[in-house]
Symmetry: D4
Subunit: 154 residues, 8 copies
């Protein structure tokens, strides 16, 4: 079956952080795909991917990037699917650059930004978003919430 | 019919910014309700509202707050619905306080944060989220995207 | 006898910093208790604890948290006891996120914020607060002040 | 009768913000005094005031200052009473200078810092502190908490 | 004759700042064109413009944007012409968001960033760039430098 | 043959970062020279170098510096050649000091600033600048752009 | 008689702030001169002035500048006289740019930095510096200190 | 003979950074003394030291401190000697706290602030200050300036 969530990241070096989303999505039984594509080095690939994402059956996109972190915003420019932005930490400026570049989007094209390095929460948010139209997933989220309150470490 | 989106804000003084979300939601034909409730002055009301939101039929919550801006996070603690956080500007610290307080949520409880003062984008994001389970709304978002590209001012 | 000070923290990983408060409280002969409870993962436990704290005999609460650091503010929302907030350091944003989230509380619900990682000072402040109604503790604080001036390392 | 709370500020120009504490203290029936004294221009007056405060019957000190904002810390250096710091806003650096100068105190000498410009909350915190040794004041704080939840504007 | 410099901006509201570049370019006799095109609302137009810029005879691109300020980076992704970024001021975050979003580009795709609101300097830089291959323009820049030293207000 | 690009840096300790520009320039077949000269310790050498750069045949200058990072601006004050500034990271202030000191130049004297530590991008930008007057170099940049999109690591 | 203090500023627009130093210097009977000279637009004038300052009898230099604020550092590069830097406020970045550019000087070439907009304190500091070799001036400073403590507004 | 420069620091842990000033002062043949005294733990010692410094023959004071970094300002409050402040780095807030606390002094009581961790420059500045009344020291500074330009590492 086709994936519902697409995970994008700007560079191979973002993998260790971004791949933490996988286990969370798997817990909720959400099919996903993951690809490295730079908004600056492969803009054509990004616009192609984002433009075709809805038709391919994807319902939520997650994009992680550091530094100027344009990837989530560029993806959002080419789709009407909800785009979750994960700003990634770098020593210089402490991640404030990526955070501001993700979150301060102009009117009309939002990026749903989570914490610096917050790829797990991006996955939880993706599940919450998909659950708005999926009662079974809502039930799984309620169970998960209970487990969280019982000490589950995400 | 029951509202699908609940808009919350911490103080009456947040109304001028937060009410800009209304026209956007109306454009997409999304029913909403709006209420002032402080996470710090009426915590019981907030947990009651958030805990019961899903059962009352709400599918997305939007919460705007300034300063320490705990409202979105407190709401998110009590629901599995997606919570969109709108950090609000204050002269001291230039909105960085509200932005950090909204977005830097710990693993397990995300807040989908938009730009400082970005209530319109919160509404667009709410529409995108609801559209993941609603083909007709997806079509309306595609039309809206075209209008944006043709100069529509949000 | 019942504890007078309750120390809360959002996560087990906060223990190494927050437990530095113990020796300070012990020095002043102040009984305390300490518990991990996340404002976001166990909000019910937090509101229950904070709401019942005064009746259980607690007189000061200390809450440490990192990132969005809502715990002190959420505790303060549910009690009229003085709440001391300890913002905890994280590499990204250098602790500014936790500091702003602790200190920028809205009118009506203060959090007495100490330095980033300042759990020892939270304990000293708790002693100073309790001493406002306890002449013997005030005397102990005067002795402690003299020792500080003589080179005591806290 | 003698005042229990001393309110200090570094400059006459701090009066409009700092005097907002008066109505709050009056509501709780707490006697207070208020004086302008700069830590930098009148250091002798500050150390004299702080050193003698406890003996004169004061139980809590509130100190507001902008810029390098040393007043709260200097006061705290000369007393074992709890000192509440109110960082004051200035256009340059947006109040971050005063906030950092108030809150980042070294081990042994805490300043209980409230929000930038948060003089009302300083007064509430002073009441909470005094209430730890005063059951009647605790009752008044419980009433106040209820009024807050009913819409009382501080 | 065809323009050598293309000036882009994300929104009509950027005109008052960005149009200050015109007089500077005119002084140096550099032909230019100017267009509003949002990287987020009209991404197709931006990639089309940037991709075709070199072939149309343009030699330098200037892009101004506020908030997440992706325009300069998106333009740079689609061309090998030098791209000058002008971060634009907004009250919230004081322009730091736009500055970081412009300047913190990843390896391979630089944006030549000037000061916040620095559209005049963007024009001077464009002249300096074009002058690397144009002796006559270099002479004009030397004259201009002398006038600057004699009190010319840019 | 004479070099076209001059690379300057404020201190020997800047070499490891700044020398990353070499391979990039070599790839494009651009002759360069590199010299350590502090704007503060050898101001005469800097003004001599910058003043004579154009006549010696240099066409672009790259200047890297940390801390107050005046070197790029001082160089720009003495030449009409385009000056590319590379702000260098230091632990204290996280590179924000060097970034602000490079980029916030006053009207009339721009510095084309790249990312913190972005010496490779400074070299790419130098190539783009020289290519405005050099069709063969433009062709090489187009090839490079294609390689970037195919996974070339800069 | 020749002036002992030279006051420099980067732009005519800095006059209103920088001229506040005059009355303070006059109070202490210190002869001074004042000139506008941009480190970026008139670098030759600045190096000439700074290089010759000691021989002309000047003993302290005060330099005010905003934005990248190189003037104090460039002056310091050309003299062994003590140089006092006054960072000037601008709306974007709130003066942090000028502060960092003034104060973060590399080893060997200090700038004695005062507060953002602190031209009066620059004058007081100049008096304190000159007084290290002038007993009469030291006496005047002691009187001034007493007046400060009695309420003198600087 | 009596020392001319007094070096103070808030804590033993500041020694490694502050003691770097010694070699610089020795180079210039300037007698100095060095003492640890906390503005917060030993305020009486600090005011005694600062108040008596001039009479004891000291002519310049250097004070280093981290965090809220009140020491330089408190010293300045008690003397008319020039006070040089050295803000010290801490991981949380990256030294911005100490920098702001040192430099943002109110009118009337300047602190001559140098770079974060800039103890060597504090010593150079002390030499420059003393040289305003000492021709021989001025000559030594001119020699030193030449050596700096020849590659002397401070």
């Amino acid at each position: 079956m086709d994936p519902l969530v697409g995970i994008l990241m700007g560079s191979d070096s973002d993998r260790p952080v971004m791949d933490k989303a996988h286990a969370v999505l798997e817990r909720f039984g959400i099919r996903f795909e993951s690809e490295v594509m730079s908004a600056h080095r492969k803009p054509g690939r990004v616009s192609e991917y984002a433009s075709g994402a809805e038709e391919r059956g994807l319902r939520v996109l997650i994009a992680g990037a550091g530094l100027a972190a344009h990837l989530p915003g560029v993806v959002a420019a080419h789709t009407t699917l909800p785009v979750i932005g994960v700003p990634l930490y770098q020593e210089a400026l402490g991640g404030a650059d990526a955070l501001y570049s993700c979150v301060q989007m102009p009117p009309g094209v939002p990026v749903a930004t989570v914490a610096i390095g917050g790829s797990k929460n991006a996955a939880v948010l993706a599940a919450q978003i998909l659950a708005t139209g999926d009662e079974e997933l809502r039930a799984r989220l309620r169970d998960y919430k209970i487990e969280l309150s019982q000490g589950l470490k995400l």
